[in-house]
Symmetry: C2
Subunit: 407 residues, 2 copies
């Protein structure tokens, strides 16, 4: 008898953004005339940069002739893209990362969901709370947690990120083997300083833990003191894997391209303490379960790293950051306490009431879609996340009709 993976039964309801999408669909069906402004899922709205479009077209044309047609590519991505990434994202910041440490994929979501496959099933996993649900759910599916109980999974280590600690987690008492960190943070919009991150890297080195560092929002960093990469932190190469995405950086949410950095030095262990190269394991995983990113998409991604592409994506992130500023100012005027919105496209807002109740009221009264903070974890209860990914016009209109605090 074909038996199911029973860990799926532990998953609470559906994936957060699927639940939001259901509620929004229902509302729209019942209110077909009401026009909604979506500041929820964090999907970009601006067109792809010109450089990308040109490179995209050119690559599609290559696919139109036998002589220039491209079949299967390297599992880890084309050299032209990996070289461009190294040059632009690392060399330019004085960081020594080689193209052989770069693995191109179709999404940081996929990578951050799949990376746990490399590890033993009985490791201790720590996540920030509030947290991007993918880190948690993929570990639940793999059987690394117990049941969902009182808003948390048994067996997971939660790193509270609250007003009290300025939304940056303290080192836990119980020592985790695998630690997911995300900065600039989704959902709180908090950016981490070098000093803050150094503490975690030192901790990981001391305990032979591994840090999965999700830097999907690094292109929104403007503060010169804030590191863009975990590899700016001393000793990080041995204990950290970094994930980057073109989704928010260059408007690739629907085009799909991202990458993961696994340094040569990055190590996990056999039970007897002998070291194992994680880079080799990841290549084995990817070459077995993945067949590379679409060639035209990789060419479009390469264009992001050209001098012109870099100018264009700077304009894009400036645009969304200005939106974030408008939202931050608007919400403060309306009486809300907020964090984020600087070095980040997300604004984390104290709702004063239950997150989903606020979500429903903001949807029905203002016609605005947000993301309920409780969907990101227990410490997200009473908060909502507002995303700056929309047109200037919509952001201004949203602020005009946003409900005041207290609701």
């Amino acid at each position: 008898m074909i038996r199911v993976n029973e860990n799926y039964k532990k998953l609470k309801a559906s994936y957060l953004f699927a639940e939001i999408s259901n509620r929004v669909s229902e509302f729209q069906q019942n209110n077909p005339d009401k026009e909604l402004i979506k500041l929820g899922i964090g999907d970009v709205t601006k067109a792809l940069p010109d450089s990308c479009i040109k490179a995209f077209h050119k690559a599609v044309d290559e696919m139109a002739a036998d002589s220039s047609f491209m079949g299967y590519g390297p599992y880890e991505g084309y050299g032209f893209l990996r070289e461009a990434i190294v040059r632009t994202d690392f060399e330019s910041r004085g960081l020594e990362i080689s193209e052989n440490e770069i693995f191109v994929s179709d999404g940081a979501k996929c990578d951050s969901g799949n990376i746990q496959e490399l590890f033993s099933n009985d490791i201790e996993v720590a996540v920030q709370d509030p947290v991007y649900p993918v880190y948690v759910d993929t570990n639940v599916m793999a059987g690394r947690t117990g049941r969902w109980e009182n808003g948390r999974y048994e067996g997971l280590i939660y790193l509270d990120s609250t007003e009290k600690n300025n939304f940056f987690p303290e080192l836990p008492d119980k020592k985790p083997d695998l630690i997911y960190l995300c900065f600039p943070n989704n959902p709180t919009g908090t950016a981490a300083t070098k000093e803050q991150l150094q503490k975690w890297i030192d901790y990981a080195r001391e305990n032979r833990s591994l840090i999965i560092y999700d830097a999907a929002y690094e292109s929104f960093i403007r503060d010169r003191e804030i590191p863009h990469s975990i590899f700016e932190i001393e000793g990080a190469k041995e204990v950290a894997i970094e994930m980057r995405s073109l989704s928010k950086t260059a408007g690739f949410t629907g085009t799909r391209c991202a990458y993961t950095v696994i340094p040569d030095e990055c190590t996990a262990y056999n039970p007897d303490g002998t070291p194992v190269s994680l880079k080799k394991m990841w290549l084995r995983r990817q070459s077995t379960k993945f067949n590379g990113v679409s060639y035209p998409v990789q060419r479009a991604a390469e264009a992001v790293y050209s001098p012109q592409g870099q100018k264009e994506i700077r304009i894009l992130s400036d645009y969304y950051l200005k939106n974030a500023g408008i939202i931050l100012t608007g919400l403060k005027k309306l009486g809300y306490t907020c964090t984020g919105g600087k070095n980040s496209p997300y604004i984390w807002v104290k709702a004063g009431i239950d997150s989903w109740d606020f979500f429903d009221r903001l949807l029905t009264e203002s016609g605005i879609v947000c993301t309920p903070g409780s969907g990101f974890g227990k410490c997200g209860a009473g908060y909502i996340r507002i995303s700056a990914f929309n047109s200037r016009e919509n952001v201004i209109r949203a602020m005009d009709r946003f409900i005041s605090y207290p609701v």
Copy 2:
């Protein structure tokens, strides 16, 4: 201490095609002047169909303007593509499959590698031998096998597909819970009849097993008696999942698009025997670990299902099938015993000597890359796979310089 998934250590050497690629690279470095003809990995060589190119460009243009820009798409693929698939691949053959049973992805390799995540870790798994390595390796990684011993993994059920049974496996004595079948088969090129498949479907229904049916090569079927879909077999919807790919069908190996069909009726079970919908579980899996296929790629794929697209891909598969015929005739003339090459782009050739020895001799003496049969399993020992995916000119030249049998 971060401990690794020790199941990776059971994996023998590297992934088959990675190993081939290494040997070929080494040969080319040592013989820079020698021109190689690659009839190995099964990668297509002809340009994308005109309809796809047009649709691809149009979609890229949509991404160039805010008003038509597409961000995140549905996890299961856009409705326009799923409708086109249903109409063309199923309705046209009188099969009732709804678009809600279609899940678009970036590759049948990914889907066939990921699908095992839905099942309990202690199920019994059966694979054909020879077999596409992905089914085996992904189950090894998940811990469903013992060690690699005498050319096989302990704990896996191998379904011998040899000359003796005309390369179609008999029902096994030990009852598997999960059964991987691939027809037209990779690597043997064997196509299965309705009667043959009916036996397996009946068997699966009797034992509440599940069949993963890989139909990646269905577009090469010309014989009217050969089913294109497992759902042409009575009772299949309850016990089968089908995987299809545009890679070979429409030249999408470097463009990346495929789909999986999970019927509403398709069921797995809790340990107490209560049924669980696999469709719902797969959607949960995909929405957590995947973010959809690139929008322009989905538009290019949609064009495959237009009347013009269908004409164009027929010309493509006709072209490769004619290559297969030339190879089949050529090899027989040279003294080889072969199977496949009809209803399939693969020719399965009795080498007379060890597969890797033949691979090396064919590489060094004829400058031709094939795939060693032993890489597909114990029953593949003494065979090689020749792929028809190359230009007509190269196929003819390859036959001119191919070593004779016996080697």
